[in-house]
Symmetry: D3
Subunit: 228 residues, 6 copies
Amino acid sequence: MAVVVEGIRRADVAAVDGLAGFGVATVHEAQGRRGLLAPQISAIQAGAHVAGTAVTVSVPPADNWMIHVAVEQCRDGDVLVVAPTSESDAGYFGELLATACQARGVRGLVIDGGCRDVAALRRMAFPVWSRCVSATGTVKETLGDVNVPIVCAGQLVHPGDVVVADDDGVATVPRGEAALVLERCREREEREAAVRERYRAGELSLDVYGMRERLAEKGLRYVKQGPA
Amino acid sequence: MAVVVEGIRRADVAAVDGLAGFGVATVHEAQGRRGLLAPQISAIQAGAHVAGTAVTVSVPPADNWMIHVAVEQCRDGDVLVVAPTSESDAGYFGELLATACQARGVRGLVIDGGCRDVAALRRMAFPVWSRCVSATGTVKETLGDVNVPIVCAGQLVHPGDVVVADDDGVATVPRGEAALVLERCREREEREAAVRERYRAGELSLDVYGMRERLAEKGLRYVKQGPA
Amino acid sequence: MAVVVEGIRRADVAAVDGLAGFGVATVHEAQGRRGLLAPQISAIQAGAHVAGTAVTVSVPPADNWMIHVAVEQCRDGDVLVVAPTSESDAGYFGELLATACQARGVRGLVIDGGCRDVAALRRMAFPVWSRCVSATGTVKETLGDVNVPIVCAGQLVHPGDVVVADDDGVATVPRGEAALVLERCREREEREAAVRERYRAGELSLDVYGMRERLAEKGLRYVKQGPA
Amino acid sequence: MAVVVEGIRRADVAAVDGLAGFGVATVHEAQGRRGLLAPQISAIQAGAHVAGTAVTVSVPPADNWMIHVAVEQCRDGDVLVVAPTSESDAGYFGELLATACQARGVRGLVIDGGCRDVAALRRMAFPVWSRCVSATGTVKETLGDVNVPIVCAGQLVHPGDVVVADDDGVATVPRGEAALVLERCREREEREAAVRERYRAGELSLDVYGMRERLAEKGLRYVKQGPA
Amino acid sequence: MAVVVEGIRRADVAAVDGLAGFGVATVHEAQGRRGLLAPQISAIQAGAHVAGTAVTVSVPPADNWMIHVAVEQCRDGDVLVVAPTSESDAGYFGELLATACQARGVRGLVIDGGCRDVAALRRMAFPVWSRCVSATGTVKETLGDVNVPIVCAGQLVHPGDVVVADDDGVATVPRGEAALVLERCREREEREAAVRERYRAGELSLDVYGMRERLAEKGLRYVKQGPA
Amino acid sequence: MAVVVEGIRRADVAAVDGLAGFGVATVHEAQGRRGLLAPQISAIQAGAHVAGTAVTVSVPPADNWMIHVAVEQCRDGDVLVVAPTSESDAGYFGELLATACQARGVRGLVIDGGCRDVAALRRMAFPVWSRCVSATGTVKETLGDVNVPIVCAGQLVHPGDVVVADDDGVATVPRGEAALVLERCREREEREAAVRERYRAGELSLDVYGMRERLAEKGLRYVKQGPA
């Protein structure tokens, strides 16, 4: 039942590129705290920050054959999103596949599994978010699927969805909501800029957000420390 | 029963600043191998090294309301120490709270939970030691306590205790023992400096510490490898 | 029954130094996907890359006495490989032991346990691959063994075996196979260099490796995405 | 954006009850190795085996309010499937909620979180599959969703899907495929019954499945152990 | 600095025995959701349920010497509570120590480490709550402390505190609050008995607790599932 | 390089059957605290206790083909010991393979991976020690090795070695040392029987083993608890 879906619809490029200007935490908040991959996925390099459209890959444990198949489906602006069908710490992706990806304009890899050649990946500036670093080799024996909906690190990802990734992890935005979420990110950032200035000036969040009354209603008591 | 204790007594500033000159491993050893937080807590940035006085916060899982309350209790030289009442990988603390903390002179955060906006936290040079990086948002619904004794990463911390943190993790020193532990750190460092020179000159620890006799008593045998 | 084996045979120096030119993933592949330590072992510093001959140490949990004993058995070009007899997150190794190791020409440490003083270890450029960073002190009470076969992170290591370590983790090569594995690494690298160029030129691995036919035989189907 | 979807369509009762006659492993295999929850979810009691229709609940971490809301949506033959929006080890479900569930004919609970009162749950014979046992209390402060698609232990579950659970874990079957998967389970079981008899009679799987030729093609060699 | 504190004050026997009639979850709730050990501690046997007074033991990793010392400090009605100073999976306690404990009237063991001989422990009906089962032997080389405050599985325990343990885990009650918490447990149980009857009669918690209004205020919406 | 070694030498049957009379902890202690598998391996059933001779299997992750190959190499009194070459939570072994094993007199399975059909395995009384329970299916695509030395759960196991397994876990004894270790087990058990009687009579281990003097030498102090 292995299948490769070709000609997927992708989120609007302008919205994707706009979302690249916001952090994962902001994107997550801006869409009502949805779309976040579990924190088991972390960046192999500090400071990388990308947004792209998902080409999804469902792979058998310790078998990276379908990643090779998926590369052909990628085009400029995509991010590969890979999930094994059961947990495995193998090293599915390394410098050669990254070279092939870069040649097609792929912006990065998100994988709920291992990657390897990380020194080379850092030198190439090909950003990867993975479950672990592992040199363990994989085989090319069993089929999987490309561009079907997958669950990656606890998050449902459809092909063509937006993927935003930075030092905080990875968030996805449904293909059809990219423009709306971008708008909300901008609004949120504006609100936060104002708050940031007030904090810098020494104001407390208790006052900026008017929390004191509700804290008192809930029963918070302030007491002085007694004598030693 | 939620409470904020105000006007806590803090460890002596001179002793705290003195302890900032020693690593976590030294502080841990100098007080008889006590006071270390479990290694699940690690630094989000390399090279940060701080000492400060603890403002403690007990928070419900995935609720950061009491951190906002705690900021008001902080003053120059403090370190926020936060422990959820049950394990949670939410992102309790980010760039806005760090801005508020820096405005009050807080030297860093230690949290047995997640933090987010880590790229920004690094840019701001606000040091954080956390259980994980996680963009997951938190709510502001349930009260907790500020400046009560808490258990953070397996370690009992009282408000006003000294917190020392570096790339090795986090150690605490009871408020009343700061000067004594500082003195012992200095003695230990002197002894180690002498040992270091002897090692550099090629001496073996077996001789520097006179271990050979006790090893023999315990029954250690030296044998030559046999022929191939 | 504690024993120190002296005068161990070591892998050929030229082969060891040759293997230092290849990454852990390459060495692992070149010997038929064997010899890899489990990914729980990771580098405390980015970019370190060493090869050396193993001096093996079996230590009781939270007791580093035998590491002191092992230093005497080390000589230029060795790598210390340490495994506790049961899991422990103690900090077995720090800056002082690293100073002693550097004085004897030891190229690095691999330990299925904790290390500490990592800021100093990075400053000294003494590379360490460990299970965790932990400041927890250890005792010197119970004997273990030096230069006996040990299991470290799931991998059997004999004294004198080659140890290769980089950002991907740690691989070992049996002492007697170093030259053969080095030869295979070179062949592999040559093949990969050719593939890399073809990828850069835009060729797909599906064509470079001729995978399309076998994928079709296995039943892979390509379908177009339907209308929205 | 919190929502409760009422009047969900459920899988056909006869198919659900038929699937209760097959183990989780069989159901997983019969639908092409899909639908399995990750093994972090395990049974709190030995020997329980149920099939039912999913009422899905998305809960905030450490907040069980929406489970109370979901009970009203349950009817005879349902199984509650609960997933927190971020990982939490709180105890979301205990004896009182189980009493309410039993009164409505709910056949069991699957939760990617903790449950408590497990001695009572066992006495009541209310079967639970959970991530952990935890007495930690939860709050009722924040909304979530009932009967929306959720990801539970890495598996996408739609309301009305079939849930099969036994000592091996939990599998789901899409609502519309229940009858088809049931048919395949029956076929598989028949094939396995025949194989089982041949194994009992001493035949080897190598012969029953005719594996010897393909093993030889792949290069498997048989060698005799040499002299001691 | 190793010390054994003798003649500790213990919680009132009648209150302790009264608390044995309530589950861990009830005790935890009755004291404001405090006192629970982390769920990494679990029962090695199903159905055990004890309450006793804590004799606390701080042990070095993989060293059980101080447990032998602690047995002498135990008397009828005590529970041993053991915490290593750093994480270790060794098997600190087995059938012989359990025999010694039973001879002194000890009601059970709580240990944030491993136990062994579990088949024998079950036969003897000596209840144990531990972090893991592990046959790994321990040494008797390094001192620790008996009857000092310890942190066990994230919870501060003082000697003489009440320990309640059942299939849900372990809770502690401060020595001076035993009678008060017992009273609250009884009140809670009465309230729950009434609720239980209403649930059995088919009432919903939404009505029993009057939750509907607050849910509506928070914005919960009920929608009908659309056509297929 | 995949190989099946036939005609392996096995430990002496009488010694193996003798060792079945001793627990894993005793066997581990009797051979100098060696031979224990890591506690990640646990029994899927309570009360099973077997000893047998190891038929070892090295399998690729999520591929159980070589287990089928290994069954042919088994004979009465063997225990299958299986280790994946990299970590995987797949379900390698179920009721059908157990049926084939029982037909050949195999006494049990030890696997550093998952098993499934555990309800059936318990009914059949085929004992299994595994890393997890997992229904995830495996493939039959890639070769491995049978009856070569393997590392299973951190322990080196040679074909023909003795495997002892009970509720505490799994221990191995080198083939040539079975009789010696059996003798030591008997001696240990006799010594422990005497100690057990003294404990039952109320004697303390401090006196039975004469520990008081050495504790005093190390500096242990006894103090009375002060007034409240």
